[in-house]
């Protein structure tokens, strides 16, 4: 279960110019998502969606309030356990965050190798997932040699290859055409049916209506709709 309890966040390192100074980016966010749930996260740009997701995948601390991720109180967790928890969370970043010096294959293999999986297992899972996202013939390509949409699919493959208990995707269809977006949603719903909790931030209204699910809607750092 994911639980946010009156969560406030003000960025400590204000690197977005004087306009962002001392502003609460999240303001009293409260919600729960049960294990195996699916949520859309919507709202205008700048509403705080990415920030909320960062809190979920343990890349930020709240300024105030309590967050529980998979039943663990996030503020009480040791660095070691935080790393172990991150391995069970698949993240598709808005800006992909692929390692430029690694091939598509090695980028996708990275989380499995960090988790010290056997290399034959890595090979089987990585080739399968890259085939799934339509990149079977681009295994050796470096990110720079891939289009935006291809990079996004590598990022998605990396997020799901370890069969995470929680999948967090930040505008994962931004660079995909409708057919690719459809394939991605098939993959995500399949994972969700197998028990993975899923949160997808998106602007894509067509996608949201094509896959009806509860929505967390944000505006100016607050949840305006929940459920």
């Amino acid at each position: 279960m994911i639980r946010f309890d009156d969560v406030w966040l003000k960025y400590r390192h204000q690197d977005r110019g004087p306009g962002a100074l001392a502003r609460d980016v999240l303001r009293g966010v409260d919600f729960k998502i049960p294990d195996g749930g699916f949520r859309w996260l919507t709202g205008p740009s700048g509403a705080g969606k990415t920030t909320l997701l960062k809190l979920i995948y343990l890349a930020e601390h709240p300024t105030q309030g309590r967050i529980d991720i998979m039943g663990t109180h996030a503020a009480k967790i040791s660095r070691r356990d935080a790393a172990l928890l991150r391995r069970r969370i698949g993240v598709v970043y808005q800006d992909f965050r692929l390692l430029a010096h690694l091939s598509a294959y090695d980028n996708v293999a990275l989380p499995m190798r960090l988790a010290r999986r056997a290399e034959h297992q890595v090979h089987a899972d990585v080739t399968e997932i890259l085939r799934w996202v339509g990149l079977a013939n681009r295994l050796g390509a470096l990110p720079d040699e891939l289009s935006g949409g291809e990079q996004q699919r590598v990022a998605i493959a990396r997020a799901v290859v370890g069969r995470p208990k929680l999948l967090v995707a930040d505008e994962p269809t931004g660079n995909l055409d409708d057919e690719q977006a459809g394939r991605l949603m098939t993959l995500i719903t399949a994972l969700n049916r197998l028990g993975t909790t899923v949160i997808v931030a998106t602007h894509n209204h067509a996608l949201v209506s094509a896959y009806p699910a509860p929505r967390l809607e944000m505006a100016e750092g607050r949840l305006t709709a929940h459920g």
Partner: protein
């Protein structure tokens, strides 16, 4: 290409900076000289201390005059007394020739013939405790004016000098170790800054701080060991040259040729030199570990 995946941080090209190994080599070179200096002073001091402390010289002025008890000449009385003194062995009266030989540099080839009132000189070996003041006191009763000197005070000075040389060498080693550690820390920081994004990504994928730190530490260790080994090897010819210079004083075989030169180095140096890369490994590893772990604390 094939090995890429074993190096997700791209560290084979990180810290590839020739600066680190070269500077570590310079540090190791200095350390080798300091260690050699400390060892050499120990060896030489041991030699000198034995020779000096054991030397007992007795001067009897007016050796042919009667002694206090009026039993014999002053020289004969002193010689007889020395035979029975504890700690004094093999007393030997210097012949006129020997005396001439010793005085020649000051008084010319035939000093004895000048008719100067020369004292008789007896050399002996002193193995008793302390500086041997009691000898002089006892001999003076028989023949007033007799001087007796042991090398004990000189030996104490040599010990003090050796001690300070060793303290200096230790200070050099400490400074070299600190500078070496700082160099590794700086190089590691540069490597971290260059790879900030990569590290953030790997951290986000669940890498432990220890995983990331050991990758940097292994790389830093390899470079530090390579540098230290090179520095120690470069120091070797210099040490051989110094050993050759010191050979006449050290009592070690004074022979030509490289093999003999190698044999001329104190054995302890053969243990100390391989310790330099070992020490570099320890310093490189721990400095990089501390630097990376400290840096990672900035990440949530």
């Amino acid at each position: 290409m094939a090995k890429r995946h074993t190096d997700p941080l791209g560290l084979h090209s990180a810290l590839e900076d020739w600066m680190l190994p070269v500077l570590v080599a310079a540090m190791s070179f200095l350390a080798a000289l300091a260690v050699a200096g400390a060892l050499a002073s120990t060896v030489l001091a041991a030699q000198w201390q034995n020779d000096t402390a054991a030397a007992l010289t007795i001067q009897v002025p007016q050796p042919d005059a009667p002694d206090t008890a009026n039993n014999a000449t002053r020289l004969a009385a002193v010689q007889a007394a020395l035979q029975t003194m504890p700690g004094v062995t093999s007393p030997r009266l210097l012949s006129v020739d020997a005396l001439n030989h010793l005085l020649a540099p000051w008084l010319g080839a035939d000093a004895a013939a000048l008719g100067l009132p020369l004292p008789a000189v007896i050399t002996a070996t002193w193995s008793g405790p302390g500086p041997g003041d009691a000898i002089a006191a006892a001999l003076n009763k028989l023949a007033p004016g007799t001087l007796a000197q042991t090398g004990v005070q000189w030996a104490a000075r040599v010990t003090a000098l050796t001690g300070s040389l060793q303290t200096c060498a230790a200070a050099v080693l400490v400074i070299v170790a600190l500078v070496g550690g700082a160099l590794v820390a700086l190089a590691t920081r540069a490597g971290l800054a260059q790879r900030r994004e990569t590290i953030e990504i790997i951290h986000g994928l669940g890498a432990q701080d220890g995983d990331i730190a050991s990758r940097f530490a292994s790389r830093a260790t390899v470079l530090a060991v390579a540098g230290a080994a090179a520095g120690a090897l470069l120091a070797l010819p210099v040490l051989l040259w110094l050993a050759a210079l010191a050979a006449p004083f050290s009592g070690l075989p004074q022979l030509g040729g490289l093999q003999h030169g190698l044999a001329g180095l104190p054995p302890a140096l053969w243990t100390a030199l391989p310790c330099l890369p070992l020490a570099a490994a320890v310093i490189g590893w721990s400095s990089a570990q501390l630097t990376v772990r400290g840096w990672l604390r900035k990440l949530v």
